[in-house]
Symmetry: C2
Subunit: 895 residues, 2 copies
């Protein structure tokens, strides 16, 4: 917590506010800041004018309570009632009662003046959205609390902004649902999708078929009374609730109650693992449709929303393949594969739902040629599928990219747009994209931890779905999300408080500081790594261990990584902050080790804790010059030992991994980077083949993490009496290059490599005559330069004589396939370099990769030294020539 | 958190455990520690033998889950089922199904051996109690988790161990009730008493009279479905649930629905304040009995427990007095006062309840001469009332002393025994004392804070009611309670986590450290001080402000005060800890002030925060000798300025007050105490009258806080050429003295004062010839001594010539009345002292009060310097004679 100084309510002294002071999320469509402040005091009252549903009064009263909690005012008004009060501070004006239905008008206008606040909306639901904005506007100065004068005009970009909560894998009781509904309302979301049934449980009471919840839920299910209460509660907040009954796959729980509906002989018991399982409903027997029909009618009545999700995902049809009767049925009806059989099944269900006036929603897989256009496609597999369905005229909802259970950082979700800037959909087709849903699959969460998986990241998704598409500033998003997080906790969410609960449980003591320091720089293993094969964790495994206290955006790591980026971009003021963090971490293991020793449940993080302290020490050593002491061979040693320790520290502990390794590595590179060029033991043939490169140590570099880009560049460097040699091996799944001849413009944007040498090792900030750079693209075209012209531009007119060769794995300029990458081999003569090669000769160096990629409509690049400008010898690593006796003179191990 | 190192699971290395290592609460009746350890691993299983109610399996499974959460083991056993598993690690043996009823056998035997654990009980409820003990036994060493080998035989002391939760003043929804039931089970409590109705709300659905919950609950009430779920959930834990419908007072909510039942004309609306209100049911009309009758029948069916609480408290009968019809009715029926009228009312209700086979429970006030012996008296007013009822043959339950809403420290509740050691009840009468209930009145709590008011203090009450009476070690209780607190949080209680939530809400930031430092040394205003007249807070006032984050036993204050006590008792090692705390506090305001400045909601604690830092600095100055610098007049100044600042720092802030003032004052006294004897301006007459003492500054001292004793001794000292004069004014509500003549044995235990002088001011540890001491009791008898005999005893043979006078306010030796106290005036000649009086003469001094009090069957005492042994000049304050020019030479203000 040392460095975590939140800016609070944006205390503004007595100056007026700016846009940066407004902690609004989702940010409104239009905000105009005015002069003035509306002062809040205990006599503040709220009145209403016009027509509205009763929920308006409930929510306005609730806002009053939330304001009193925030400000400590003992407001004299107890309830907001339809009787308007003269001189009310806030007047809410609505024209008609709102309806909690898809497409309802949610727009509002909010005008804060010195003496009165007017919130106008077509209906109470718009007004409720506006109240959340007003609450977020609360600020304080020397005189107390106030709302800054503003004029806000706001409406959502997408009409479907939801969360799917999987209550099947781990049941989430009604209080969990209610507090998450509060959270949703706080960020203006409007759909709750309940994934009620899966292999691991059937989670809703059926009065028609009580065996479903009785046999297949371990007693953990919603009563119909509770479902009604959830719907009522959501309705008050202007949120729709609709159910999902996943069929025909993910069906174990159905079959526990109805083994006769199975495609394979039982017996069936509730699934305790995670993953994709074979039990599947038999779509060829009438009993299946009878049971589903009756149940769907019952559930259609229970859930008034006109949308009804039938799942339909991940049915691999193994049991269909194995069932002779099903095979016969398919033959008889001319159903040629399992996809068609599922379509047959879906169409039968569609009839049932049609009769109930329900619109069928299903996951990607239901999109089959015959699917009626009334069905809604819920995309979990990718934006392409979504675009395809939308272009075919289906209404669509996006969840791919919003899988919050995978513990990815918020910015990834934030930048994931249902209609990306480069979308090829027509304006008409774009209207088919209704919005999106954050999907909270619950294999790895319990009521204790689920909030910390949903929040605050879902606020970023909410903004993506509500606010204008142009809003894409990740730093601003993180800053506002950090503060909204407190507001969410105040609403009752447990995402902050329960982290400490878990840490206290693990240590059985109040002093969780050292453990929290570690927890704040790790993240749970991401994607499906944490629970490979769905077999590590079962339903009843403990979910209150170290990984469960960690969150997706390790908070201290984010702050630190930002500082390092600033520092490497030349902001020297960041150094002190970096040191403070490194000192904290470097001292942490000494504090934490005894705590770990006493708690066997923490033994799995002992190395993790030791690693954090070790690499923090390495970072400090780099900053303080310790790694750079001694002769060049010592420096080479120190640097490679540091790299080896940094690599080793990537090992996971307690199902988490450290999030500061790359930043520290960048620091170490920047401060102490020394690369070795090895004396070649054999002749080197420049042919793009690396069979003659086995005698050296390879190294690698990757793009900075925030670039959201996983390619790697492996490289090695050698020398002999004649040449300096480079070998590059680059991962790239989409090879693209346009320049096919020397010095052609734009070549630097093609897929290709680049190296830069400061041959005199003068570390100058300017690009001098001794400095040279080569680009080689995947078409083996070159652009090179040496020194600068008088006007300061790099001298591209210079042409070197380096030999280059490229070997491509894949097809260049064919975006339809997936490529592997390419290799580049280079020989540049000492004559050209202008140096006499000898052991321990030092030059400056940087190495880079360029990447052209149509999807992104721009080129990307990353370099070994992570420099803001490449032609800057001052930031280069040292390159030292080492001879055959290198190994005897060094202690670092080969990778 | 600096100094708060919990001992966790009592990590014991590889040594074997001791009684002190066992964190058991309530501590079992008998624990025998054996050699050996039962090692826990993931293959641990639980089996059952014998007959049991199904709740056994649910609870055994739950224990497995709690063990996995604690240890991180992924146990292979998913559920505990009736099918016994061979080789189970834990075998639970029961003989019959338990019944959740008053008086059920809850005993159990727990034997942990190296290879197996046997838990035997008559029934599953005893087994459930034993499981909680087993969970608390979990320990860890270098090899991992284990249960130490023990042999435990346990059973409760009282059969009625409950919590009353007031859900009327602030409604507490079902999830609050459920998690508190979990907490109750964890400390082996067995009764939940729901106070369902009060002026502020009618909190249960009535199908017979729906207007009750519809009109009088603001929509906040339990549905009957929820009541059934609460009862089911409690039943699984072996806990009874019974309702209270408070009549005929506290009746506003009844009258909102049924104004026709009122004793005074309406209209009635739900009460929003706290306190005692006049609305009362009219006991003279039949409609009252019709409504209550029908409702009680409905509720009797809803709550299966045979006990039914009718409240009956705090009916002042004002509306009865004012109602002419009621007055006529009383006259007609020969009912002479309101008490008799209430008895009439109660007897009518008793008939209704009798028919439903319910036993009537009521608060103290229902105990009237005619009350049938089947009624149960629930004592809230005092132990005397309880004993009286028990001696009359009524069954009784104690809640006086268990009012956890009053925010008193845990030890007060802990030492409050339903049958005190000096009870005059016969063994047979003692059986009428069934136990007790902690009472959680909810005027000032919401679901966010209620847990922190109930826990962990109620664990101390649970131990009082379960464990042997002899267990009264407060330090051991606090130590175990501190650890059990974590276990309670792990069960889902929010008493720890929600403190931080409130602090984050107040600061809107993650860095709540400085605010927490302050929060950890304050306590909410106690008793009824926080909400005087019930008018400061209303139902909908904010209850998430600074006071709501503070708890009854300010945790850091407790640690610090303990250190100071140790230090003043001669443990010099405590000094470093004291300094660390004082340094933390002294630096805290600088950190907290900017946080407060930015948050208007915190402005009310600005002085509180400044005061903490100021008095911490004073404490440091005392420890480091700063206050003792300069000449004696400077020291006198420094000391009195310090005292004045300490007194001023007692001011409340944010409805809390500081809990370290007295300890710091003791430190300051001990290190820098300088009292002034003032030059008398007039002649002093030794007559016990203080009209001639207006010319001096009075001072005072009080007993150490943990003595739980509120008397005060004011005193002043003067001198003239002939004598040194003392004036004492002592509060005492029960004057007692036996010795009526000089030097009579035991006089030192009588109510009286004492002063000791180190005339040579040699500060010796031994009592030397220059040192003299006088006791004067309230009968004006004296015992004095000077110097020591050869055998080391004080020379009581010495007789001084001091003149003494006593003036008593009250009656000595009459415990039946309430006395005010007494005054003592003393003149001792300089000749006797052996010194020549002069300005700035310094001697050593201590002043004491003795107190004999039959109720406690021992004498108590307290002294100005808080010395462990009084005859110890080394610990005395300085006494300096000051002349008429005193005021010109000092800067401290007169009190």
């Amino acid at each position: 917590m040392l460095l975590c100084l939140g800016s609070g309510l944006g205390f503004s002294g007595t100056d007026s506010v700016t846009h940066d002071d407004l902690v609004l999320m989702p940010y409104p469509a239009s905000v105009e800041i005015k002069e003035g402040k509306f002062r809040l005091n205990k006599d503040f009252t709220i009145a209403h004018e016009g027509k509205a549903h009763d929920r308006l009064f409930a929510q306005a009263t609730r806002m009053l309570r939330r304001l009193d909690r925030k400000t400590g005012f003992f407001f004299t008004q107890e309830f907001v009632t339809p009787e308007a009060k003269a001189g009310a501070g806030l007047v809410i004006k609505t024209q008609r009662p709102g309806e909690v239905r898809f497409g309802e008008d949610e727009s509002y206008e909010l005008t804060v003046g010195d003496n009165q606040i007017i919130l106008s909306a077509a209906n109470d639901i718009g007004a409720i959205r506006g109240m959340e904005t007003l609450l977020q506007l609360l600020k304080a100065d020397d005189e107390g609390y106030y709302f800054p004068a503003v004029e806000i005009n706001d409406q959502p970009r997408f009409p479907w902004r939801g969360i799917m909560i999987d209550v099947a894998r781990h049941f989430q009781p009604i209080d969990v649902i209610k507090r998450n509904l509060d959270g949703m309302a706080a960020v203006k979301m409007n759909v709750l999708h309940l994934h009620l049934v899966d292999d691991q449980g059937f989670r809703v009471e059926s009065k028609v078929y009580p065996q479903l919840h009785e046999k297949a839920s371990d007693g953990k299910y919603f009563t119909q009374q509770e479902i009604k209460e959830i719907i009522r509660y959501a309705d008050e907040l202007g949120i729709r609730v609709y159910p999902e009954f996943d069929v025909p796959g993910h069906a174990t729980s159905w079959l526990v109650a109805f083994p006769e509906l199975a495609s394979a002989p039982g017996p069936y018991s509730i699934e305790r693992n995670s993953g994709i399982f074979d039990p599947t409903l038999n779509p060829t027997i009438e009993k299946t449709y009878e049971v589903l029909g009756n149940l769907f009618v019952e559930m259609s009545n229970l859930f008034p929303d006109p949308y009804f999700h039938i799942g339909g995902d991940e049915n691999e049809g193994h049991h269909w393949d194995q069932n002779q009767d099903i095979q016969k049925f398919m033959k008889k009806h001319g159903i040629k594969d399992n996809h068609e059989l599922q379509t047959y099944f879906n169409k039968r269900l569609l009839k049932v739902l049609d009769k109930q006036n329900k619109k069928m929603v299903g996951w990607d897989e239901i999109l089959q040629p015959d699917l009626p256009k009334t069905a809604i496609i819920h995309s979990w597999r990718g934006q392409e599928g979504l675009a395809k369905a939308a272009s075919q005229g289906y209404k669509t909802i996006l969840s791919n990219g919003y899988y919050i259970d995978l513990m990815k950082p918020a910015y990834k979700h934030y930048l994931n747009d249902p209609i990306p800037a480069n979308s090829t959909l027509t304006d008409e087709q774009k209207k088919n994209v209704l919005g999106g849903e954050a999907t909270m699959w619950s294999e790895l969460v319990t009521p204790t931890t689920i909030d910390s998986r949903i929040w605050p990241r879902t606020a970023a998704i909410a903004e993506r779905l509500w606010s204008p598409a142009e809003l894409r500033d990740v730093e601003s998003m993180y800053e506002r999300m950090g503060e909204i997080s407190f507001l969410l906790e105040e609403h009752g969410l447990t995402h902050i408080r329960n982290r400490d609960v878990i840490l206290r449980n693990l240590t059985q003591q109040a002093d969780i500081e050292a453990l929290k320091v570690l927890s704040n720089v790790v993240e749970p293993l991401k994607g499906y790594r944490r629970n490979p094969g769905g077999a590590v964790y079962k339903t009843y495994s403990p979910f209150v261990l170290f990984a469960d206290a960690a969150i997706a955006d390790a908070p201290d790591a984010r702050v630190f990584n930002r500082l390092v980026t600033d520092y490497l971009n030349g902001n020297s003021e960041a150094e002190e902050g970096i040191k403070t963090w490194l000192q904290l971490w470097s001292a942490n293991h000494e504090k934490l080790a005894p705590v770990i020793a006493r708690s066997p449940v923490l033994w799995s993080i002992k190395d993790l804790s030791a690693n954090l302290s070790a690499i923090a020490k390495i970072g400090l050593d780099a900053l303080e010059g310790e790694l750079q002491e001694g002769d060049i061979m010592s420096q080479l040693n120190s640097y490679h030992s540091a790299l080896a320790k940094l690599e080793q520290s990537r090992e996971q502990g307690g199902r988490t991994d450290l999030q500061v390794v790359n930043s520290i590595k960048q620091l170490v590179k920047s401060k102490a980077g020394v690369l070795a060029a090895y004396r070649a033991e054999n002749n080197v043939t420049v042919d793009g083949d690396f069979s003659d490169w086995n005698d050296v140590t390879w190294n690698y570099f990757v793009p900075a993490k925030h670039l959201n880009w996983n390619d790697t560049c492996h490289f090695a460097i050698k020398w002999d009496k004649k040449n300096l040699y480079f070998a590059f091996k680059v991962d790239n799944s989409n090879l693209q290059a346009l320049a096919n001849s020397r010095d052609k413009e734009g070549l630097h944007m093609d897929d290709g490599i680049e190296f830069l040498l400061d041959t005199d090792f003068d570390r100058s900030k300017e690009w001098k005559d001794d400095d040279l750079a080569y680009h080689v693209n995947v078409l083996n075209a070159i652009i090179d330069d040496r020194g600068s012209l008088k006007n300061g531009e790099y001298n591209n007119g210079w042409n070197g004589n380096a030999k280059t060769a490229v070997k491509v794995s894949g097809t260049v300029n064919d975006p339809s396939d997936k490529d592997q990458g390419y290799q580049v081999e280079v020989a540049i003569s000492w004559k050209e370099i202008g140096k006499a090669p000898k052991d321990e000769l030092v030059m400056g160096i940087d190495l880079c990769v360029n990447d052209r990629d149509d999807v992104y409509q721009q080129y990307r690049y990353f370099d070994y030294m992570n420099l803001p400008v490449f032609h800057m010898p001052a930031g280069f690593a040292k390159l030292v020539l080492v001879d055959k006796n290198f190994k005897e003179r060094t202690s670092f191990e080969q990778e």
